[in-house]
Each structure stands twice: as C-alpha cells, then as structure tokens.
Symmetry: C2
Subunit: 136 residues, 2 copies
Amino acid sequence: MSENIEQKCLSKGVKLTEQRKIIAKIMSGSSDHPDVDELYNRVSKIDSKISIATVYRTVKLFEESGILAKHEFKGSKARYEELNEGHHDHLIDVKSGKIIEFVDEEIEKLQKKVAEKYGYNLVDHKLELYGVKKKT
Amino acid sequence: MSENIEQKCLSKGVKLTEQRKIIAKIMSGSSDHPDVDELYNRVSKIDSKISIATVYRTVKLFEESGILAKHEFKGSKARYEELNEGHHDHLIDVKSGKIIEFVDEEIEKLQKKVAEKYGYNLVDHKLELYGVKKKT
DNA sequence: GTAGATGCAAAGTATTTGCGACAAG
DNA sequence: CTTGTCGCAAATACTTTGCATCTAC
C-alpha cells in the first residue's frame, strides 16, 4: 500500500495546512484529472473561504514535490492527477474528454532506446494517444 | 518533392496575403520550432509593420489548415513547425531546449495497438521524450 | 515565537477579438 | 465590388505575486 498525500507531505517536510489537507483529500478522491477551476469548485464546497490563489500555489507545490502530475492535453487547460508508483500514459477520448490510463512496457523500453540512440539519457517523457471510440 | 506553404494555401483556398507569404517563408526556413514571439521577431525584420495579432491569427489558421503543427512542450510557450508528409516525434534536450526529431515505426505500431485494445481508433498522438546529453 | 502559508486584489503572460481601414481575388 | 484580412488597442483567460495577516510546528 502506498503513502497517501498527507503522509507524503510529512515525509517531504511540506507543512500540512488545513487548505492543503482539503486539496489533498479532493485530489485523492478524484480519478478524472481535474483542472484548477474544477478542483477549486470541489474544494470550495468543503471550505468556501479557500482562495483560488491557494489552489494554484498548492498544485504547484505538490507537483514540485512529486505528489501530483500536471498534464497539458491538446487545447485544454492544465489538469492534475495524484502521482503514485505506477507510471502510466493516457489515452484521451477526443469526443468526451474521458481519459484512460494505460501502461505499455514495450513502448517504455523503445523510448529509452530512442533516447540512447541519440546520445541522451531519458529523464522524462510524455505519451498521449487521442482516439475515437470504435462502433461495435 | 512536397508542396510549399504558398502552394498549400492555394490548394486549400486560403487567401494569400503579403503577411501570410512572409510568415510562410520564415516558417519554411526555420527548423528550430519557434514560438509566436520569436516568429514575430523574425517576421518583423522583413516587414516591421506586421502586427503580432496577425502572427497569432496566421499560425492558428495554418494549424487548422494542416500547414503547421503546434507543440506545447512542458512548461514553455506554444512552438510551431512546418508540417510535411513524414510524421515524427520529438526528443527535447532539457538543458538547452534543442529539439531532435525522430521516427520509430515500432512505437507507432504499438500505439495503434494500445488504442485498439481499449476499443479506440487512434486519430492523433503525441510523444515527447525529455533527455539530458550523455557524457562520452 | 517564527518561518512559512493564506486571502485578496493587482499584475503578469499568452492569446483572442471588435472595429474601422484596407487589399486580394 | 465584396469578402476577408490587417493593425491597433482593448479584452480575455490563466496564472503568479506583493503585502498584511494568520497558522503550523
């Protein structure tokens, strides 16, 4: 079982404020990669005094601490998700915006190989597939 | 030999103004994926009266016409490149911002396979590798 | 107690748009 | 001619920041 966000904050020395706890809880309970506005909406329902500036500051802090991942999918605002051990990539339904997470070890290996081929060590990568649902 | 941007405009019914010709020429001569500001700088040297609004309007129009590709690499502004037949992906040097274009048929095939696996037809995809140069 | 966090509103970026003048087809 | 484009400046969208106050540790 992996650490939750609050535990990660503690182990990384990130001060745990009331606002951060709320944001952490919302993100842990969201599997739909919300953008900042949406996150702010959800957070406001729990504490309406929280400001959007705090939400921006917090997602940035969490991202820099390796707690959240930021995604900038084609033509939309930045969206966030909780980061856990298992790395995965995204398949985006272009009609509905729905996101499917997937892992493909073979692609991962090939990416590394490509980087090596050009004399680079792969430090990060981004793979997004955009698709339309097949009629069955 | 593939069509140049001006020819593409004609065949797509895009009106060829003086400004668009200049922007087309600059993009054709740029292999470094400039952002709008940089493109505006280069364009201004040829015609200093051209406005940045026109540059924005033109890259958007060209993108929608399939003449240019827009890239939003991690944490930087949108950058553009001329679109030609050969599809390719990008390896970004995180230190210098330099971009290396590459093609890997095997990865392409696997991407399609992944989409199929989830019941989707792949309509687009984005693969970006971020690397640091290896010391030799 | 103190360093760091928050809320607010103001400032920054990047990009888009309304409008009257102008140019391409 | 007429429709679409241009330049300009104002508007928008998203994100960051200065500052006084407050809070976690």
